[in-house]
Structures are given as C-alpha cells and as structure tokens.
C-alpha cells in the first residue's frame, strides 16, 4: 500500500502516522482465540500487533498454505519465502481456503481493496478510467472467497473519493449487494463488518446494510470525510473519535513489527 498524499489533512498529529492509527484500529477488531485469514500489508501488520497485545492466541492463515508465520524479515508479498518462516503448518489452498474458510471456521477475513462501495462490495479486478477505458489489475485471488465465506470481513484501505464510489466498477467480492442480506444472496459468510481507512472507522447499518460512520480519526473533520467519500454515509449524532495507538502499540509497530516502514509509510 503505497501512500501518495492527496488533498486532505491526513496527519494532524505530527508524531503519529495515519497508517499507525489504521493498524491499531485494525488490531482492535481482532479478538483473542479467533482464526483469521489475512492479506499482506496493513492487515498482516495489524494482526501481528493484535497477537502481541490483547490476542496472543490468534491464528493467522495465509491462503497460499501458511499458518502462524513469524517472519524475521519483511516480505514483499504472499509468495515471498520470508513469510513462510517459523510457520506451524505449510499446506495449500485446499487446506486453508477449503478445509478452513469454506468449512466455515474462519472468524474474520482481513483484506485490502481497490474500491469499496456503500454496500461493502469490493473491487480488485479493474478500474474504469474517466474516458470509459478499462484497466485490469490483479483479479480476485482469495478475495472473493474470503468475502463470501468468512464470518465477517474487515477491509483496510486509503480513504479517497474514487476508491469509495457509490457502486464499484467491478463487483469482485460481494458485500451486501443492492443492500440485500447475506441470506438473500445465498452467501455463508456474515459479510463486511468494518472498513478501516486513514480517516475513519466505518461499519454497516444492521437494517440497510449501508456504510455508516463509527468513528473519526483524531484531527479529521467530518466535512473532509464527506468530501472524500463517493457515497452518502450514515453519520451518528455523536461522532466518537478513534482511539490513538497506545505508546506500547506504537513501540511494537515501530521497533518490532515494521521497523523499516515498508507498510507503515
């Protein structure tokens, strides 16, 4: 996740990066004893932070067939041998995605997204340029599977208007499509529960299944949020502020988990 500065005042607290707030907010969404599937980047950083703080018995699975890795060096992706290190099991898609995810025992999926719309539908396949021209990107890999089958989905992404459109350019991974319930959609997993951006933590309304604001990060103004969101989202009367990472969380992130700032830039 490469950070390119936009038009908004992301970083009002000079000592704390937006990515650090995101990682800490992500970690708080994970509970001790849960089984999660994580994508690389901030999801992995957040899961390691959770494991080193309140959730020591978290089980982290990677779709490629790796369980509970404890990398010594920062990997560049899922295919990097660095992320295989000190795992407790090496298997493959059939085991992780079949015998765990499809089996229904994965509590949370934790992924990034290219685009996410007001019903939590995710696009990782293509971008439509203003000219109407289509540019393909990576496709689903395990994204659609995780969004379809995990008990809940947590998405972590940059907060930009074009990345949060009313409807995604390609519905790669279903959320609450057209505002319908997961039962109506014949999907086993519970669907998206949180979207963690560099401006806010978002949730989903239990009735309308549309995105709603849960908390604003410190220093972010509501107008900024609205301006940078491509759809209208439910805003509560009292808007909580996302807690900052604790001193210990910051120390772990900076000194142990991503000291070279590969993902926390």
């Amino acid at each position: 996740m490469k950070v390119t500065e936009g038009t908004k005042s992301r970083n009002t607290l000079p000592d704390i990066r937006a990515t650090e707030i995101m990682a800490a907010a992500g970690a708080r969404e994970l509970h001790d004893g849960e089984v999660i599937i994580v994508g690389l980047g901030l999801p992995e950083v957040a899961s390691v932070l959770a494991k080193r703080t309140h959730a020591p018995r978290l089980t982290a699975l990677l779709e490629i067939g790796v369980m509970n890795p404890a990398p010594r060096d920062t990997p560049v992706g899922l295919a990097d041998s660095r992320i295989f290190y000190r795992a407790t099991c090496w298997s493959g898609f059939l085991d992780v995605m079949g015998m765990n995810l499809h089996r229904g025992i994965v509590d949370a999926g934790f992924l990034g997204a290219l685009e996410l719309d007001r019903y939590g539908n995710v696009n990782t396949t293509l971008l439509k340029q203003e000219s109407g021209k289509i540019r393909y990107v990576n496709g689903s890999a395990g994204g659609n599977d995780v969004a379809s089958l995990a008990k809940r989905l947590i998405v972590i992404m940059r907060h930009e208007k074009r990345k949060l459109p009313l409807a995604v350019a390609h519905l790669t991974s279903p959320g609450f499509v057209d505002g319908r319930s997961r039962e109506e959609l014949n999907l086993r997993g519970g669907g998206p529960s949180r979207v963690i951006t560099d401006m806010a933590v978002l949730g989903f309304d239990a009735k309308t299944h549309a995105v709603s604001l849960l908390s604003l990060h410190p220093g972010i103004r509501l107008e900024e949020l609205v301006e940078n969101t491509g759809f209208s989202l439910h805003i509560p009367n009292d808007i909580p502020t996302t807690p900052l990472p604790s001193a210990e969380e910051l120390r772990l992130l900076r000194e142990e988990i991503d000291p070279k700032c590969v993902y926390l830039r």
Partner: protein, 301 residues
C-alpha cells in the same frame, strides 16, 4: 525404475501449439521459467494457460503472444508490480480470460485430480466474476444449482484437466517422485489434474532418499511423464529452501513489461538471445549471482 530425466527442449517439443498447459508458479515463487522460455523459443502458439495466482511465467507467455485463453484465479508480482503483459492483453481484448478465485480454481483442479467431472462451491455467488463467466467463454464451466440434501444454493464447477501440468519442485528422483518444500498452494491438485505431468526439479536424488521420508512425496513417480533437471530453473522467482527471488531482475522485468516495445527488447535479450537456461543464468550474473541468491539453510531464503 524408469529414468524419466529429459532436457527442457526435448519436453517442450512434445507440447503442441493449442495445448492447455497448467503452470505451478505463484506470483514470484517457483515459476516455470526454464520451460516458459523454451515454449517462447519454440513459438508454441494458441496456448490455453491455467494458473491459480498468475506470476512471471504466465506474464512472459502472454507478453510473447503465445496465449489465446487464460484461466486464472488472480495475478501479481507481489510488490514488484502487477502482471503488466496479462493486464495489457486484457485491456486490449487480445486475450480470452476466464476469471476465478483462489478457491474455485483449486476446486476445479481438485475435481480434475479426483476424476470428478464437477464439484460444488460456495464462492462466486452474487459476484460479477460469476456473471462474467456465465456471459463469456466460461459459461460452459459453471452452473448454479442446489444441494439435493440441504437445498443450499451452489455454483457447480466443471473439472479442469489440463493437457500438460507443469510444476517446479525442489527435489525429485529420476522416476519423478517429488518433494515440495514450503507451502504448496494448488500444486498437488493442479499436477494430478493434468492428463500429462512434467516436473522441473532443482535437485535429483536417488530413490532411496525418497524412501526415507515417503510421507513427503507430494507427487508420486508413476504420475510423472518427464523430469527436467534444471538447477535455478525458476530464477528470477524464488524457490524456498534453494534461492531467493532476484529482486534486481524482477524490477528490470517489470520496467520492460510496462511497454510492449521494451518487452520485446527483454525477450530478445533474455529469451531469444539465450540458447538455453544455462546461458540465461549467465546473463543474470552467473555463478556469482546465484551464490548471492542461494538460500540460508535455516531461513529458507
């Protein structure tokens, strides 16, 4: 014991244009580079390629214009970039592409490996991936249906049985009994789904070595048609326990893959300009470079 060790050019000559080949790489790990280079040198055309998560190997084949139909679960070169040649071919509609997901493509291979002509899955539902499959060349491979016992809605997937499955492994004996170190993504299902199966091995061991830990035999020899012995056969991608990816060369590749003209230069220099994989390894920096990349025995990279 049958000795199945063959050279890469010998094996590639037996793969006709128009074949469906399945590649066992994943992004920048254990890619079939030596085989793909030879497919390009021998100009095998109109290929159908299938792969779970498309990597450098498929990107090379597509960039070289040899692929007519691509069946994939996703694709990337991790943080080195996207699969530019594949994405460009899709943008310009010069490639038929069937998109799946990691699990659904694995299930299609699993069905093939098990001799089931179909298998159900609970992914894909309510997605545009399924809609596009139903509207395009994938229509004959997916069908919505219900479980006869529970009434639950499923997508039924047709088995995928490539003409030739190719997988890069760390260890094989001369008969083709293979060990794979590190995670195995869809390698086992993909390999066993193939009507023919070719392995590229970093190291050839005596069968006695295999017999010391038979629980590690992921692919048994009788399934294997040919064993290609090609050390560093996956460079610039990584082989866990053997060598790391060549980050410099991956960056160089991505820079060239961004532009069709520069990609041609890349092919000229590193594929057509090399008689075989040994010459290519020399261009990468030869012995000195591969020693730099050789894996630490504890870390595996």
């Amino acid at each position: 014991m049958v000795d199945k060790v063959k050279s890469v050019s010998e094996v590639v000559r037996t793969i006709p244009s128009g074949s469906h080949i399945a590649l066992g790489g994943f992004a920048i790990a254990r890619n079939l580079i030596a085989v793909v280079h030879e497919l390009i040198r021998q100009q095998k055309r109109d290929l159908t390629v299938s792969q779970g998560v498309v990597g450098l190997d498929t990107d090379l084949l597509v960039g070289a214009g040899l692929v007519r139909h691509l069946i994939m679960g996703g694709g990337s070169l991790d943080r080195f970039g996207p699969v530019h040649c594949v994405n460009r071919a899709r943008d310009t509609k010069s490639l038929h592409c069937e998109d799946y997901t990691s699990l659904s493509i694995c299930f299609r291979y699993l069905a093939g490996a098990l001799g089931l002509s179909f298998i159900p899955v609970k992914s894909l539902l309510a997605s545009e991936i399924l809609e596009r499959l139903e509207a395009g060349p994938g229509a004959e491979n997916v069908k919505r249906s219900k479980c006869p016992f529970t009434g639950e809605e499923y997508v039924l997937l047709r088995a995928l049985t490539p003409d030739v499955s190719l997988v890069h492994v760390q260890i094989a004996d001369r008969e083709g009994n293979c060990q794979i170190n590190g995670p195995r993504w869809e390698n086992e299902e993909q390999a066993k789904a193939g009507r023919r199966l070719v392995v590229v091995a970093e190291e050839i061991v005596p069968t006695e070595y295999i017999q010391r830990s038979p629980e590690r035999t992921i692919i048994p020899g009788h399934r294997v048609e040919a064993v290609i012995h090609q050390p560093f056969g996956a460079l610039p991608t990584a082989v866990f326990g053997c060598y790391d990816y060549d980050a410099d060369h991956l960056r160089l590749y991505v820079e060239h893959a961004k532009e069709p003209e520069r990609f041609k230069e890349y092919l000229k220099a590193f594929v057509f300009g090399c008689h075989d994989h040994w010459e290519y390894l020399e261009k990468l920096g030869g012995l000195r470079r591969v020693e730099e990349l050789r894996a630490d025995p504890i870390l595996g990279y």
